[in-house]
């Protein structure tokens, strides 16, 4: 169903320490619009396939003439599940993403050259990573679209001890958010449960603090009307707005945190927002 060529690779270019074996694909459009590449960052316990391919995002972006870079997060999709905790820390993931987009041809922004820089679309946990990536890479990132974003960090609040006890002997998990996230992590046989828990543990060591470093480039925040996790979206918009960045928000009627991803309105808004 790809309309253009695409290349895939197990990412081999290590930033530091062990090779996390991240699975990277570059999806070329049939007709290139001449704009900078778009990096897609999927959510927790999802994958490039589930979050971006099956939902129709890759073809939508390719049809808009965009070159798309996808990467499976460590322990997700076709990426490896490293044993060292360091490979799962948000800061290490951001460093790996920077190396990946550089290897895929993204170049620092240059005034008047629309092929330079990088656009980023993140979803859920991917939105958190995109927010931080934009905040730390102002010379590279042009615009960001955040789907299902939250100023809180449900993964950092995850009760790891209760989850491990539940997995060992079935003791019920009291915290509803923890129980829900664990169920999500167990649902996909393609995702390694040990790696999901390692990711959570690493995130607990580096919880999301949107005010600590906020992106200054234009942002589009999108959430379903029924997305409880994204009820804090206005807070994110306010933090970025105070830093002087242009912020747009879009609420999709009737949609939840899970099913906003296929929304036409979401895709069309993203393509338009990034098409400058």
């Amino acid at each position: 169903m790809m309309t253009g060529r695409h290349t895939m690779e197990q990412h081999r270019h290590t930033v530091e320490g062990t090779d996390p074996g991240l699975f990277v694909e570059v999806h070329e459009p049939a007709t290139d619009a001449g704009l900078r590449p778009v990096l897609l960052i999927h959510g927790f316990s999802s994958s490039t396939k589930l979050n971006w391919v099956d939902s129709g995002w890759i073809t939508t972006l390719q049809d808009a003439g965009r070159r798309v870079i996808t990467v499976d997060l460590p322990g997700h999709g076709r990426s490896h599940s490293p044993e060292d905790l360091d490979s799962y820390t948000p800061s290490r993931i951001r460093a790996d993403l920077l190396q990946i987009v550089t290897d895929a041809g993204a170049r620092p922004l240059r005034d008047g050259d629309p092929s330079t820089g990088l656009d980023v679309i993140g979803y859920s946990l991917g939105s958190r990573l995109a927010w931080e990536f934009g905040a730390t890479q102002p010379d590279l990132v042009h615009r960001i679209v955040l789907g299902g974003p939250s100023s809180a960090d449900p993964l950092a609040a995850f009760d790891l001890v209760a989850a491990q006890r539940h997995l060992a002997d079935g003791t019920p998990i009291e915290d509803a958010s923890t129980a829900g996230l664990l169920k999500m992590a167990q649902m996909l046989p393609s995702n390694n449960l040990f790696a999901m828990l390692s990711l959570i543990e690493a995130i607990k060591g580096e919880p999301f603090d949107p005010a600590e470093a906020a992106p200054h480039m234009p942002l589009l925040l999108v959430a379903g009307e029924k997305d409880e996790r994204a009820s804090t979206m206005p807070e994110l918009a306010s933090i970025a707005g105070k830093r002087g960045g242009m912020v747009e928000t879009l609420v999709i009627p009737g949609r939840t945190h899970t099913n906003v991803i296929t929304s036409r309105a979401f895709k069309e808004a993203a393509v338009e927002f990034l098409g400058v």
Binding site: M1, S46, L50, N51, D54, S55, G56, T59, M187, L188, P189, R255, T258, N259, V260, I261, T262, S263, R264
Partner: protein, 109 residues
């Protein structure tokens, strides 16, 4: 003209049903093969289903919010008679493109 009905396909991962989020096509509309036709939600994710067939949409089953079981009718297409009966497109009977020139080999004798 003939009608071809397509059921909700096996979505893998042991899924037995899906909920319709939104139809992207409507009866009377001409669609291409692989064009997204419907947004569905399963217990694991939301996805777009590509059209298994080129043709005119006759009927769609399930309004937004309705649950459809794998194997139950999802969409019906109207197609020319000569393409009915098989899933997918059928190669047309076209004149062979390769021309073979028959030339007599003259007996030198």
């Amino acid at each position: 003209m003939a009608e071809i009905s397509f059921p909700l396909p096996d979505l893998g991962e042991g899924l037995i049903e899906a909920t319709v989020l939104d139809w992207l096509v409507e009866p009377g509309q001409q669609v291409e093969r692989n064009q997204p036709i419907v947004e569905l939600e399963t217990t694991k994710s939301a996805l777009e289903l590509p059209s298994p067939q080129a043709g005119k949409v006759v009927r769609i089953h399930g309004a937004p919010g309705d649950t459809i079981n794998v194997g139950e009718p999802l969409i019906v297409f109207e197609v020319p008679d000569d393409t009915a009966g098989i899933v997918g497109t059928v190669p047309k009977d076209e004149a062979p493109k390769r021309r073979v020139r028959l030339s007599a080999v003259l007996d030198e004798d």
